[in-house]
Every structure is written in structure tokens, then in C-alpha cells.
């Protein structure tokens, strides 16, 4: 517990450092939000200046940064230039959709890739193993946006089984409680709405989970093959234990340590990958919001979103550390 609190405190300099870097990068990137907002309208320089003051962009960069730090320390990340509301409000509205998609992709990746990886390691050298290695290679190398569009063309346009975009059908809507539709629809006791939400989730989840699953499978396979060579496995088999018991109880538990590390890092990356996949599938999450904010130079929104990404990333690594201790009691945090 003590070490947990210590680790939490260590987060503070990390977040501070990241916020400085993000603030500097985005402020030094050429492009002026005032010009973007005014577009092609004919305005006088006074009108332009008034808008600049309204956005707080008339101050020199160091003053803006001090102001940002002061406000952020009080939980105020400023107002989105274009939504003209507090950025946290704008981001938090979108966060449940992103969490739902990321979680489902991660679950899909783990549930599919670990058994397949184990199987490939056990059946090393067979046709199954070789074909799974090739498939994993394809999965890792395939660009997500391209794969997503191929899935849309096949399942949405030709077969018309699944919807192209969005999260739910209007006629099957349920009241929002958590913002995560899989949970909300069950809370409302609506099976039809739940299945509708699942239908909308399938294509983005598969697209996002594909690359992660492929990597996890490769890692599981490699580490499993390593573990299967160990003496204690031989000993367990010599004892006459059943093959299945040896594989899943003795070998897999030890083989999972690298898989857990990779899964934690990948979940952080999934959030980044979300930006593209959310845009392709019109998924109303934080990713598609941030993409737009970057192009519009919506400084406050990008800053706050990056901080949230960092927090989640650090949190995922923390969870991975805890999982190590479960998998391998020799590890202490």
C-alpha cells in the first residue's frame, strides 16, 4: 500500500513534465486559432484583436503557461476555443465511448490471441503454427484505417450485416447512466438495445483489436515456447501430469509475464490508435475529438486530452505491475 502511494506521488513530476512539453509543442506549432476561427470573413483588425483577447491568446507565452499551470492545479483546464465550454466537460462527455471501445478491443485481443499463441507454441512447426505466424504478421503490418474500410465495404455495404458508423440506433436508445452502452442497455434491461450496441461495436473493435491481438499472439507464442523447454515442465510431464494441466497451469502462468507487459503498453497505444479508428467509424470518442482539435489548434483541449492519455497510460502500467506479483510471487512492488 505504501509503495502504491509512493508511486502515485511519483506521478506528479511526470504529469508536470508532460504538460510543459505539450504546452510548448502546441504553442510553438505554427498556426493561429484566431485566424482559423475567423476563416475567410472580412473583419477589421480591432475585431480580430477582440477575439484574441476573448480566447486569452493576447498574453505572452510564459504568462499563458503560468496561468495554465495555476488553473490546471485547481482542476481547471480552460475553455475549448471552438466549443466555448470548459474542455474537461467536452472531453468527459466523450470518454465513456473511448473507454468502451478500448476495453472491448483489449478483451477481444486477449481472449483470442492467448489461446491461439499457446496452441501455436504447443504445435510448434506444424502447418497450424506456420499459418498462425503468417496471419499474425499480416495483422501487425496492416494499417488500421485500411483494414477498417475493407471491413466496412464487406460487412456493411455488400452483406449489410453491420452498420457503417455510430454507436446505436435511435429507435433503440436507452437512458444514459454510465455512458457505456453495453452497461446502460443491460441496466435498462433491453436485450434488443444491447445487441444493437454490440452490432455497432463489432467492426471498430475488430479493427482496433486486430493489431494488438496479433502482437500479443506472437509474444505469447515465443514466451510459451521458451517456458515449455524448461526443466520443471519436463519434470511435471515426467510425473505423469496431464498434458493440458502442464500447459495451462504450469507453463502458461509463467509465460504470461511478457504478455502482460506488452498488453499494458499496447492498451496505452490503443488510445492513440483510437484517433484514426474513431474517425473512420464515426465513433464519438475522445480520439476523433482530439484529431479535430489538433487541426484547429484548439490548445486547451489538446493539452487536457494528452494529460488524460498520460494518466491512463501510467495507470495501465501500474496495473501490469500488480499483475506481475500475482503471476510471479518473487516480484515485489
Amino acid at each position: 500500500m505504501e509503495s502504491f502511494i509512493k508511486r502515485l506521488f511519483r506521478l506528479i513530476p511526470v504529469l508536470l513534465g508532460i504538460s510543459i512539453i505539450v504546452f510548448l509543442i502546441i504553442s510553438l506549432t505554427p498556426g493561429d486559432p484566431v485566424q482559423i476561427m475567423l476563416g475567410d470573413q472580412h473583419v477589421t483588425p480591432e475585431m480580430e484583436q477582440a477575439l484574441r483577447e476573448d480566447m486569452g491568446l493576447d498574453l505572452p507565452i510564459h504568462e499563458r503557461f503560468i496561468r495554465f499551470l495555476y488553473n490546471a492545479s485547481q482542476g481547471n483546464f480552460g475553455r475549448s476555443f471552438f466549443h466555448r465550454r470548459p474542455v474537461m466537460e467536452v472531453i468527459l462527455e466523450r470518454l465513456p465511448a473511448t473507454i468502451e471501445l478500448t476495453f472491448c478491443s483489449m478483451m477481444m485481443a486477449i481472449l483470442v490471441s492467448i489461446p491461439l499463441g499457446v496452441l501455436a507454441a504447443v504445435k510448434k512447426g506444424t502447418a497450424y503454427d506456420r499459418s498462425s505466424v503468417v496471419t499474425a504478421m499480416v495483422g501487425v503490418s496492416m494499417p488500421g484505417f485500411w483494414f477498417g474500410i475493407i471491413l466496412i465495404i464487406f460487412f456493411a455495404i455488400h452483406l449489410q450485416w453491420l452498420p457503417v458508423s455510430g454507436r446505436s440506433t435511435f429507435s433503440l436508445r436507452v437512458p444514459s447512466v454510465t455512458g457505456m452502452l453495453l452497461i446502460d442497455t443491460l441496466l435498462a434491461g433491453r436485450l434488443d438495445s444491447f445487441l444493437d450496441a454490440v452490432k455497432h461495436l463489432i467492426l471498430p473493435t475488430v479493427t482496433l483489436g486486430m493489431a494488438m491481438g496479433a502482437t500479443l499472439m506472437q509474444v505469447t507464442r515465443a514466451s510459451m515456447m521458451e517456458v515449455l523447454k524448461q526443466d520443471y515442465i519436463l519434470f511435471a510431464e515426467a510425473k505423469g501430469l496431464k498434458r493440458r494441466r502442464v500447459t495451462f497451469l504450469h507453463a502458461l502462468k509463467n509465460a504470461l509475464i511478457p504478455t502482460v507487459t506488452v498488453a499494458a503498453i499496447q492498451t496505452g497505444q490503443l488510445l492513440g490508435g483510437n484517433m484514426i479508428i474513431e474517425t473512420v467509424f464515426g465513433w464519438p470518442g475522445v480520439g476523433s475529438l482530439v484529431v479535430r482539435a489538433i487541426f484547429n489548434r484548439n490548445y486547451p483541449l489538446v493539452q487536457a486530452a494528452v494529460l488524460i492519455y498520460v494518466l491512463i497510460y501510467v495507470l495501465m502500467n501500474f496495473i501490469a505491475d500488480i499483475l506481475y506479483t500475482v503471476l510471479n510471487p518473487r516480484v515485489r512492488i
Partner: protein, 512 residues
């Protein structure tokens, strides 16, 4: 046990794919739209796309018809009393969605909220500059208001369709924070649901007064419900139309036009846009400070071929900066027909027999167009490598008074379709968008005179004269006006795209 699992899996799959998910009551039109509304408050944003969505729920004092003429909507009529005063008579019997009647009080409240400082929870409306010199709105009676300007601004009516009327009583009740998420307008549809970044659902307002009397048919909306699905990615939006998920999509990329046309259930509809495209030439230094060189550029570029092959014919050729729909457009301008020989001869006369080397700036979405232009220029001996930029980086650079670059293939939007929104910023000396650094006192004088001229005929004549001078001076190569392209399902009737990119669904219906 195994059989039972198999059976339940099969049943689930059957249910998943064959459940009648779209069984809803009444007619419904689904739009696949590029971006979500930033807010539901018509006074607190500066995005055209947000306005497009809001305009189906909020009506304005005036509106543009499909021919882009400004006609009364909530107003019954208006007249201009002098250079500074406009008087509007408001229609009786108009109701907000809440059932409250609309009066002159609401009109005054709406405009005060925009033009007075700090009215939106301490913030000033970003739409203030769209009302130019409007100083005050005076109530003359329950259905009569007077708009008073601080200085003459003849284009006031052309800018008025951009403002939507809110209810004073409602805004005072819910505050600006409430108005950011709730709608109580006088438009044909009312807001039912808004899931940020995902969809906006509107339902027919049965107490609708019928809309602008100059735009038939007048009456309630024909469909029960309109759903706007937000799909930012082009390929996905097109896919949603082809699969039948949505009925109308905006902003169709020109390379998808054929795909939509070939699909038996969908078609392409388009309207003249309002963004004039041109090739900016840096007039402040050689070689483009020489008029002969600029003319050579006009002859060297095969505009018609580019429109035909790259834009798939979805653009109108321009010989001046104004759209053919714009006020003061001059139809008699000289057309610089593609003539590479003449271009070479002019270059020789100007002292560049072997051409020269310049850079051509462009944003990524126009790269293919720039490459075509560059290839044309290469044929007459001009080497013009294409340099791709991000818009928010290159545009401010070209806006600086000191011009350091050579050429820029770009555009300037003119939603008001009045030259004041295009000629003043782009071609008047020191204008905010005068990328080419062009300065001609004659043109400046004509533009300045036209801005304050009340007589519409005289105003138009000034602009025509200015366009004729510009057509000869060619500070930039005027290229084309891209059309606004929509993909539309064949089951939709009664809908027409508009040049101002508004999607008016009041008259749209489902063909049965």
C-alpha cells in the same frame, strides 16, 4: 450440453443479424454529416457546419432561397429608410417550440445578445463581426423593429440570413449554459436528442408557421423525424450512403462521385459553391510583378481540362473572382483560353525566353490540382515544384503584408455572395486575404465606393468595372468555383442542395 450451446449461439447470431432494428414509426430522413454541432446556441459559434444543423430548428428574420436571393422568413417585409436604418415588419402567429408566441422583443433580444459585449456568460458572441456596423435594434411595436447601423453598410441584408432568432423568455429561464444544449426555436423541427459527436435527432414541430412565404411549399415539415449521423471520414460517409444507412451525405470527394452515380439506389446532386479558387501570384517581386508574365500564366494553365479530368466536371470556370451567382458579377469578362504558344511568346516578350523557377504552395487536399497546374507550367518552360503545407501554417504566412513566397493555389469563401466578402479582403490594398500583394488605386476606389453605395444598380456597376480591370491586370489566375456535392438516396424527394451549404429539410419527403 454441446448441442445446447450450439443452439443458443445460432439463435443469438440469428437475432443479431435479422432483428428488425430499424422498425420505427413514421417517415425518417438520415443525414451523414461531416461534423457535429459545436453548440446548440446559435449565437455562440463560428462554424458553418453548426449553423447548417441549427438552421433546421431555428428560423431567421430572413433566409436565402435556392437562387441565393435574400427573402423574408420570420419577417413579413422590410424596407430601407436611409443608409443607416432598416425597418422590419414581423409576421404574426409565429410560435416557438415551447408554444410561446414570437414578438419584436425576441428579435431585439437575439441581436442584443450578439452585438453587445459579454452577453453570453461574460463572453462576447463570436458572431458579432458578422453583423458589421449594427448598433442598435429598436422596438416600434409588438411586430415591428428597426435596425440602426453606426455607419453605412449596404450589405447588411446579405449578412442577416446567418442569424437565428431565440426566445427571450426561454434564454432568460435556462441561461446561456442551458441554450448550449437545448433548442427552443421557431424552425420546422425541434430537438429530441443530441449525443455529442454521434448524432442529433430532430422531430417535426407541429406548430410550425410554414416558413418563408417566398419559398413554396409552405407548411409543416413533411417527414416525422430527421437524424444527423456524424461521420467525419469521407470513405465511411460514402459507404454509409451506399449501404443505405443514411439518405443524404454532404461533402462528397470528387473521386467518389462515379461510385455513387453507378449505384442504382443513389445519385449525385450539386449546387454552385461559394468558394472561388485561384492561383495567387506574388505581385510584389519578379517575375510576377510583370503583367505579361501574369498573362502568360493564364494562357499556360489548361483550366477546362483540369475541371473535366480532376474535378470530374464538378466546378464552374471563373474569369474573374466572383461566382456567377454573386451580386455584381460581370458576365462579359475575357476568357484566357488555353494557349501555350501565346504563353511562351508573352514570356519571351517579358524577358523570360527560357522560363524561370518558382515554388507552388498548396494544402494536401489540393495536391493533385497543383500537380496538374505545375505540369501545364512545365510545358511553357516554367519549373514549379509543388510544396505541400498544412493550411493553418501556410495561410497566415501568405497573409503577412511582406510576401516572401511565389505562388499559392488556394481559395476564399464568400457565403454572403456579395463582393464585399471577397473583393474587399482579397483584392483591395492591404486586405486581410490579399495574398498576392496586389494594389491598384483605381480598383481600391471602386471597391470603397461600392461598399457604401445604396443604389444597387450603381453598386453593381462599380463591381463590374473593378472586375474588368482585374480581368486585364490578372493579379492572380482565376480558376474555378467548385460545386457543393451531395450524395442522395433515390428515395428522397423535394430536396435541393444550396450554394450556402445549408441542408433545408423542411420540404424533403420519402418517395413511396
Amino acid at each position: 450440453m454441446k448441442k445446447l450451446i450450439m443452439l443458443s449461439v445460432a439463435l443469438c447470431t440469428l437475432f443479431l443479424f435479422n432483428h428488425p432494428l430499424f422498425a420505427t414509426g413514421g417517415d425518417e430522413i438520415v443525414i451523414g454529416f461531416t461534423s457535429d454541432a459545436l453548440t446548440m446556441d446559435p449565437a455562440n459559434h463560428r462554424a458553418r457546419t453548426t449553423e447548417t444543423i441549427l438552421r433546421d430548428m431555428y428560423d431567421g428574420v430572413v433566409v436565402r432561397n435556392n437562387q441565393m436571393e435574400v427573402v423574408p422568413q420570420i419577417a413579413e417585409s422590410w424596407k430601407q429608410l436611409d443608409t443607416l436604418t432598416y425597418e422590419f415588419v414581423i409576421r404574426k402567429g409565429i410560435k416557438f417550440h415551447s408554444g410561446d408566441p414570437l414578438t419584436a422583443e425576441d428579435i431585439k433580444f437575439t441581436f442584443d445578445r450578439i452585438i453587445k459585449e459579454g452577453q453570453i456568460d461574460g463572453q462576447t458572441s463570436p458572431r458579432k463581426s458578422l453583423l458589421g456596423s449594427l448598433k442598435e435594434v429598436k422596438i416600434l411595436g409588438p411586430y415591428k423593429v428597426r435596425f440602426i447601423l453606426a455607419e453605412p453598410w449596404p450589405v447588411f441584408p446579405a449578412f442577416l440570413p446567418w442569424q437565428e432568432v431565440v426566445s427571450k423568455k426561454f434564454v432568460e429561464k435556462v441561461g446561456s449554459k442551458g441554450l448550449a444544449t437545448q433548442v427552443n426555436g421557431t424552425g420546422p423541427f425541434k430537438l429530441v436528442e443530441w449525443i455529442r459527436g454521434n448524432r442529433i435527432v430532430m422531430e417535426r414541430f407541429d406548430g410550425y408557421y410554414g416558413g418563408a412565404s417566398a419559398i413554396p411549399p409552405v407548411g409543416k415539415a413533411k417527414v416525422d423525424r430527421v437524424i444527423w449521423n456524424i461521420i467525419p471520414e469521407n470513405a465511411s460517409r460514402v459507404a454509409a450512403l451506399l449501404s443505405g444507412d443514411v439518405d443524404i451525405i454532404n461533402d462528397v470527394p470528387s473521386h467518389s462521385v462515379r461510385q455513387i452515380e453507378l449505384n442504382p439506389n443513389t445519385k449525385i446532386m450539386s449546387a454552385n459553391g461559394t468558394r472561388s479558387n485561384f492561383l495567387v501570384l506574388n505581385n510584389t517581386r519578379p517575375p510576377f510583378d510583370n503583367k505579361k508574365v501574369r498573362k502568360a500564366m493564364c494562357y499556360a494553365i489548361n483550366t477546362d481540362l483540369i475541371i473535366d479530368k480532376i474535378l470530374n466536371g464538378n466546378a464552374t470556370r471563373l474569369n474573374g473572382i466572383l461566382s456567377p451567382d454573386a451580386f455584381g458579377h460581370n458576365p462579359d469578362l475575357y476568357e484566357y483560353k488555353y494557349n501555350p504558344e501565346k504563353a511562351k511568346a508573352l514570356l519571351k516578350e517579358a524577358g523570360y525566353p527560357d522560363g524561370f523557377k518558382v515554388e507552388l504552395d498548396v494544402v494536401a487536399s489540393r495536391k493533385d490540382l497543383a500537380e496538374a497546374v505545375s505540369a501545364n507550367l512545365a510545358d511553357v518552360g516554367i519549373t514549379a515544384p509543388v510544396r505541400v503545407w498544412e493550411k493553418s501554417v501556410i495561410r497566415p504566412d501568405w497573409k503577412k503584408p511582406e510576401k516572401k513566397r511565389d505562388m499559392y493555389l488556394t481559395d476564399w469563401g464568400n457565403g454572403s455572395l456579395d463582393p464585399v466578402g471577397l473583393m474587399t479582403p482579397v483584392l483591395r490594398s492591404g486586405g486581410r486575404g490579399n495574398f498576392s500583394g496586389y494594389s491598384n488605386s483605381k480598383v481600391d476606389a471602386l471597391i470603397d465606393k461600392a461598399v457604401v453605395e445604396i443604389d444597387r444598380k450603381k453598386r453593381a456597376a462599380y463591381y463590374r468595372e473593378a472586375e474588368a480591370i482585374l480581368n486585364d491586370d490578372v493579379p492572380m489566375v482565376f480558376l474555378w468555383l467548385p460545386r457543393e456535392i451531395y450524395g442522395v438516396s433515390n428515395r428522397i424527394g423535394g430536396w435541393q442542395p444550396k450554394a450556402d451549404s445549408q441542408i433545408n429539410l423542411h420540404d424533403a419527403y420519402i418517395i413511396k
